[in-house]
C-alpha cells in the first residue's frame, strides 16, 4: 500500500534540492524568471525580507491567492513561509498544496515558546538554525530540512557564515567525542540525545542543510557551499538587484561550480549592482530576525 507523508519522502525532497538555489519570489512573473534561470524551487512571498524589514509591523503568511498563482506559474517545487509557532498558517499552506513550509523567523513569531509540531503534517518543513543544538531541536520537532538563519534582508553574508561555521565545527566536535561525553553534550546544546548520536554516526546533520540569510552575489553562494552548505536560499538578493535574471543565473552556476574559481570569475562579471547591504551592527539587537525562535 502506498504511504504518503513519511519521513523518507519529506527528507527525500530536500535531497533532490541539493546543489540548487531556492529563490524568493513575490509574483508569477518573478517565479518564471527564477525557473528559467535554473532555480530548483521558489519561495512564494508577499514581500521579500528586505521589504519586510523596511516596512516593520507584523509580517504574516502570504495571501493564499499570491501563493496559488505562483504555484500555477511554475513546475518546480513551491515553498511558502508560516510564522514560528503558527500551526494554523501551516495547516492552510498544507491545504493549498505547497511543497515545503518554511517556519520562518523572517515573519513575526506567533508563539514565543513553542515551534510547530511538524510531525503532524504531511508536508515537509524547513527551519532556520544558528547552531547545532537549534538545528537538532527543530529536527526533533519534525523539520525535514535545515538552513542557517543568517540575517535576512541585509545582503550581508557575515551571519550566515557564522551560523554555518558554528554548525560544522560543532558536528566535528561531536564526531571526536567518546560516547560517554555525548549525553552531557546533548544537555549543554539542549538537543535530543538520539539526534546527537545520529550526528556522531553520520558526521553531518541527519537532514539536508542549506545556507540562507544574506546571500547577494555568486561569490557569497559559492562561499557558503565551500563551507559545507548543501544548497542556497536567496531571498532579497535576486529581485532587489539591478538585473535579477542575470544574477539568478549566475548564482545557480556558482552553486553548481562552487569549487571552480575560473567559472566563478566568469559568472560574476557584468551583473549590475547587487542589492544594497546593511551592516549588522547598525541593526538593534531586538530587531535582528535571527534572534526569533529558540
Amino acid at each position: 500500500m502506498a504511504e504518503t507523508g513519511t519521513l523518507k519522502v519529506k527528507t527525500g525532497l530536500a535531497e533532490m534540492l541539493k546543489g540548487g538555489v531556492i529563490m524568493d519570489v513575490t509574483t508569477p512573473e518573478q517565479a518564471k524568471i527564477a525557473e528559467e534561470a535554473g532555480a530548483c524551487a521558489v519561495m512564494a512571498l508577499e514581500r521579500v525580507p528586505a521589504d519586510i524589514r523596511a516596512a516593520g509591523g507584523v509580517a504574516r503568511m502570504a495571501d493564499p491567492t499570491v501563493i496559488q498563482r505562483i504555484m500555477d506559474a511554475v513546475t518546480i517545487p513551491v515553498m511558502a513561509k508560516a510564522r514560528i509557532g503558527h500551526f494554523v498558517e501551516a495547516q492552510i499552506l498544507e491545504e493549498l498544496g505547497v511543497d515545503y513550509i518554511d517556519e520562518s523567523e523572517v515573519l513575526t513569531p506567533a508563539d514565543e515558546d513553542f515551534h510547530i509540531n511538524k510531525h503532524e503534517f504531511k508536508v515537509p518543513f524547513v527551519c532556520g538554525a544558528r547552531d547545532l543544538g537549534e538545528a537538532l531541536r527543530r529536527i526533533g520537532e519534525g523539520a525535514a530540512m535545515i538552513r542557517t538563519k543568517g540575517e535576512p534582508g541585509t545582503g550581508n553574508i557575515v551571519e550566515a557564515v557564522r551560523h554555518m561555521r558554528r554548525v560544522m565545527s560543532e558536528i566535528r566536535r561531536i564526531q571526536n567525542m567518546p560516547e560517554e561525553e555525548l549525553m552531557t553534550a546533548a544537555k549543554e546544546m539542549r538537543a535530543p540525545y538520539e539526534l546527537v548520536l545520529k550526528v556522531k554516526e553520520l558526521g553531518r546533520l541527519p537532514v539536508v542543510n542549506f545556507a540562507a540569510g544574506g546571500v547577494a552575489t555568486p561569490a557569497d553562494a559559492a562561499l557558503m557551499m565551500q563551507l559545507g552548505a548543501d544548497g542556497v536560499f536567496v531571498g532579497s538578493g535576486i529581485f532587489k538587484s539591478k538585473d535579477p535574471a542575470a544574477r539568478a543565473k549566475a548564482i545557480v552556476a556558482a552553486v553548481t561550480h562552487y569549487n571552480e574559481p575560473k567559472i566563478l570569475a566568469e559568472v560574476s562579471k557584468d551583473l549590475g549592482e547587487a542589492m544594497p547591504g546593511i551592516e549588522i551592527s547598525s541593526i538593534e539587537p531586538h530587531e535582528r530576525m535571527q534572534e526569533r525562535g529558540w
Partner: protein
C-alpha cells in the same frame, strides 16, 4: 568499472555512495572532460528543468547524447527519467531525448502526494522493492522497442529499459536495496564485453 554521475544538481551524492559501496569507482561530472573514460552514466534525481539548463550551459548535453548513442549505458532516476525521454507532456524543456517514451512530470501530484510503496520487479526476483516516489514522473506511453520492468498499474510505467538506457521514476538511491544499481552495473559490464 568507472561510473560518471552527473553532479549539476540533485541527489548525486547518494548515487555515488551506492556505486562505491558496490566496489566501483564513481566520478562526479560537472564538465565535459570529466566524462573521459567512464563506462556508464547516472543522471540523478533533482529538478529536471535545472539539470537540463545546466547541461546546455556547460556543454554536457551533446557529449552524453553521443556516448549513449555509441552504446554507453545511461541510468536516469526521477529527473533523470524525464531527461532521457523523447517526449515530456506539455513541456519543451531541454532534454537528452533518447528513449522512445512519453513521460508525465510530477505525474502523481505535488509533494503532499509523494509516497513510498512496495512494488514488484520480476527482473530483480521475488522480493518486492520499496520504491520512494518524490514528485515523481511516470511513463505514460511507450513504443514497442522499450521493455517494461515495473508498473504501478496498466497506465503508469515506473521502470523501463531500452537497450543501453534504464529509466526509473522512483529513488533506489534513497533506500538500502541496491538491486537496481546492480542491474545497471550488469548492463555496464555487458556493454564492455
Amino acid at each position: 568499472m568507472k561510473i560518471g554521475i552527473l553532479a549539476l544538481q540533485g541527489a548525486f551524492r547518494e548515487h555515488r555512495k551506492v556505486i562505491e559501496s558496490l566496489g566501483h569507482t564513481a566520478v562526479e561530472v560537472r564538465k565535459p572532460e570529466q566524462l573521459e573514460g567512464v563506462d556508464g552514466i547516472i543522471i540523478p534525481g533533482g529538478e529536471s528543468t535545472t539539470i537540463g539548463k545546466l547541461m546546455i550551459d556547460y556543454s554536457l548535453l551533446e557529449p552524453i547524447r553521443h556516448m549513449a548513442q555509441a552504446g554507453t549505458p545511461i541510468f536516469g532516476t526521477c529527473a533523470g527519467m524525464v531527461l532521457l525521454a523523447k517526449d515530456i507532456k506539455g513541456s519543451d524543456q531541454p532534454r537528452l531525448g533518447l528513449m522512445d517514451v512519453s513521460v508525465v512530470r510530477n505525474g502523481f501530484g505535488r509533494q503532499v502526494d509523494s509516497f513510498e510503496e512496495d512494488i514488484n520487479i520480476d527482473a530483480l526476483g521475488e522480493k518486492p522493492f520499496r520504491a520512494v516516489f518524490i514528485r515523481a514522473p511516470y511513463i505514460e506511453s511507450i513504443s514497442p522497442q522499450v521493455g517494461i520492468l515495473a508498473q504501478l498499474d496498466r497506465d503508469r510505467v515506473v521502470l523501463a529499459r531500452q537497450g543501453n538506457l534504464l529509466a526509473c521514476a522512483f529513488h533506489p538511491e534513497l533506500t538500502d536495496d541496491k538491486r537496481i544499481h546492480k542491474y545497471f552495473l550488469q548492463m555496464v559490464k555487458e556493454s564492455k564485453e
